[in-house]
Amino acid sequence: MAKETIPLLVIRNLHVSADEREILRGVDLEVRAGEVHAIMGPNGSGKSTLAQVLAGRDLYNITEGEVLYEGKNLLDKKPEERAREGLFLAFQYPVEIPGVSNMYFLRAALNAVRKHRGLEELDAFDFLQRVNEKMKLVAIDPAMKERPVNAGFSGGEKKRNEILQMAVLEPKLAVLDETDSGLDIDALRVVADGINSMRSPQRAIVLVTHYQRLLDYVVPDYVHVLLNGKIVRSGEKQLALELEERGYGWIEGEAANGAAAEGTKGKVAECRT
């Protein structure tokens, strides 16, 4: 076997609860640079919790398990440290921040990340050049630059703004939480093009999604089904089509007897070799 590099992200037996209620019940996942993973699941399966926990949201209790990012413990790092080390979460519901201009925000973010990486801070001119280039990618109206962060943006504008931030910050691991939800087909294509342009051998992308539709445009290497806080099945892109056709019911049936989860782990391992 060829010498394996360390996976970018390793999640082992992750248990997470909120308000005394267990939401994640032993999630296992490995993501390597260059891969695109899709995590699918019905409402309430724990998809967004997983995404938020990775980004460092403090609403949750991690009761068991571990998360390694580039081989190091991710969970004891602050959200800003995670971001500076290359983790990016595109929010399902981007937050409106009146009074802070989009560009001021983005420049502060980029410079915080650059500083951490030992790079020089960008001045206003270089920064704008870089943003203008990325804005074309996501077809964002240049007037949005000076508007306050997400304030008064339409749903589609907010999602595109998340993709713009990702494009500017150039993370190593991008977790996109339902970035496709609520988009019309034109906006979906723009967002998908933005994501595809970010695919690179150095970067991993995790798409958390409710619908198979996005996967027509961004073809994942692996698809995982999250059900009741556990990944119960993993496969390649055909799995998404199967889910689209048959719904989650048949997996729920299989998961109930417990064998499915074991089987899928093996399957992913096969895919990788």
């Binding site: 980004a55 460092g56 949201r57 403090d58 602050k78 959200p79 800003e80 995670r82 971001a83 500076r84 990016f88 979460l89 929010f91 981007p94 937050v95 921040i97 009146p98 009074g99 802070v100 925000f105 983005l106 502060a108 973010a109 980029l110 915080a112 990340v113 951490h116 306050p148 931030q165 910050l169």
Partner: protein, 450 residues
């Protein structure tokens, strides 16, 4: 420790001492007015927290301080020590400027070269000697010294202040900056700045009143400003309270609006141990437009009390109020916004908003809207919010790599920015932004270092 009653006597005997001199120097109408005002003060006394209007603001500590009613001659000799580079924002800027030191006009520090010849702007005390009839018709005719003890005190004791008159149709290009400086050493000093602004028909004016305390002793600036807007007059008013951390500032801005006039005010209360801003506007003719904005900041043990009273007396008036408060440490904020719509004032459109950001467990805000509506075809809304920094917003900023402290600053600046962006003259806005930034962030760091 002398009690409040004795100190009230101190003001009364102080008045008696200068009475003879003032009677010789000033016109009879003014002297009668002062006499009446001090009599009213004797009857009213210092307010107590049992009075609804003063429920949250205890002036007993202030009333107990034996202030020196500083003599003008002394003040003038002192003000020569004050360099142009004093920390007063705007002192270094070009434009029209009247500077007062402990209530005394300083010609040396003032700058009137950009003033058009048709416009009158200068010392109120000098103007009283010259055009007495105009002043007699307006001075103290709006700010009610008969019912308000601090207006009464100011009316009895004011030595000087600014008088501005913009004649009909004149549009003043440059803002006029009134700078009231308070300074004290070992002995606490009280001053009584007095401002009268007459903006006649179709005139336009931007004016800023700055109340600035030099570091050091205890000062009390008890200010009264009256602004009268003629038909179609437009006045943009800014007020900056930046007294030192031991000092007191009580101020009443009384505005009278004639038909279709437009008054805007932005009150910035940034410094002082106790600051109280009262803004009273009477929309006394049809179609008046009034905007009152404010930003108040109380850190340490500061108390900032804002009172607004918008009196819609005639139909088709519009008023907008937006006040933002930032309260940290053991700071206390008060917002009491009163809107009265008289029976005749149909089609009134009045909106009042007050938002408060609490940055610590010990910070306090008392916010109280008071709507008294006696007309039936009006639109009046009000709302008050009190909150901490939004955790969702903080997480969003941090998730992009911005550190928690910087994220907090960004959100606080944005909250203040919602008011500061309403300051129209750009140099004024950036000076206030700089002052605020230094106060909020450099002051904060100093405390953290302790």
């Amino acid at each position: 420790m002398p009690d409040v009653m004795e100190q009230q006597d101190l003001y009364l005997s102080g008045f008696r001492e200068q009475k003879e001199r003032l009677a010789r120097q000033e016109p009879a109408w003014l002297h009668r007015m002062r006499q009446e005002a001090i009599e009213r003060f004797a009857e009213l006394g210092f307010p107590t927290t049992h009075q609804e209007e003063w429920k949250y603001t205890n002036v007993a500590p202030l009333a107990k301080i034996p202030f020196q009613l500083s003599a003008p001659e002394e003040a003038c000799s002192r003000c020569s020590r004050l360099s142009e580079s004093a920390r007063a924002p705007g002192m270094d800027s070009p434009g029209i400027r009247l500077v007062f030191y402990n209530g005394c006009y300083c010609a040396d520090l003032s700058s009137l070269s950009d003033l058009p010849s048709s416009v009158r702007a200068g010392s109120l005390a000098e103007s009283v000697q010259g055009r007495s009839s105009l002043l007699e018709a307006h001075l103290a005719r709006y700010a009610d010294y008969r019912s308000h003890p601090f207006i009464a005190l100011n009316t009895a004791f004011w030595r000087d202040g600014a008088f501005i008159r913009i004649p009909s149709g004149v549009v003043l290009q440059h803002p006029i900056h009134l700078v009231y400086i308070s300074a004290a050493a070992e002995v606490p000093v009280v001053s009584f700045p007095r401002t009268l602004i007459l903006a006649e028909r179709d005139s336009q004016l931007t004016v800023m009143e700055s109340y600035l305390g030099l570091p050091g002793g205890v000062c009390f600036s008890n200010a009264v400003s009256e602004i009268v807007l003629g038909e179609n007059a437009v006045v943009d008013h800014y007020k900056l309270a930046l007294e030192n951390e031991q000092s007191y500032h009580l101020d009443t801005l009384q505005v009278y609006q004639d038909r279709s006039s437009n008054f805007k005010s932005c009150s910035l209360a940034l410094g002082g141990s106790l600051v109280r801003n009262e803004v009273n506007v009477v929309l006394d003719a049809e179609g008046c437009d009034c905007t009152l904005n404010g930003l108040y900041i109380a850190m340490d043990h500061q108390l900032v009390d804002n009172r607004t009273m918008v009196d819609h007396a005639r139909p088709h008036g519009t008023s907008r109020q937006l006040y933002h408060g930032i309260l940290g440490d053991s700071g206390t904020g008060v917002f009491n916004g009163r809107i009265v719509v008289r029976p005749n004032a149909q089609k009134t459109d009045a909106v009042q908003r007050n938002r408060n950001l609490l940055l610590s467990e010990d910070a306090v805000i008392d916010t109280k809207p008071q709507l008294e509506i006696f007309a039936n075809d009006v639109r009046c809304t009000h709302g008050a919010t009190i909150g901490q920094l939004d955790p969702e917003s903080l997480f969003y900023l941090c998730s992009r790599g911005i550190g928690l402290e910087e994220a907090r600053q960004l959100l606080i600046d944005a909250f203040a920015g919602a008011i500061l962006e309403r300051i129209r003259p750009a140099p004024m806005r950036s000076r206030v932004e700089e002052t605020l930034h230094a106060m909020l962030w450099q002051g904060r760091h100093a405390e953290e270092a302790l």
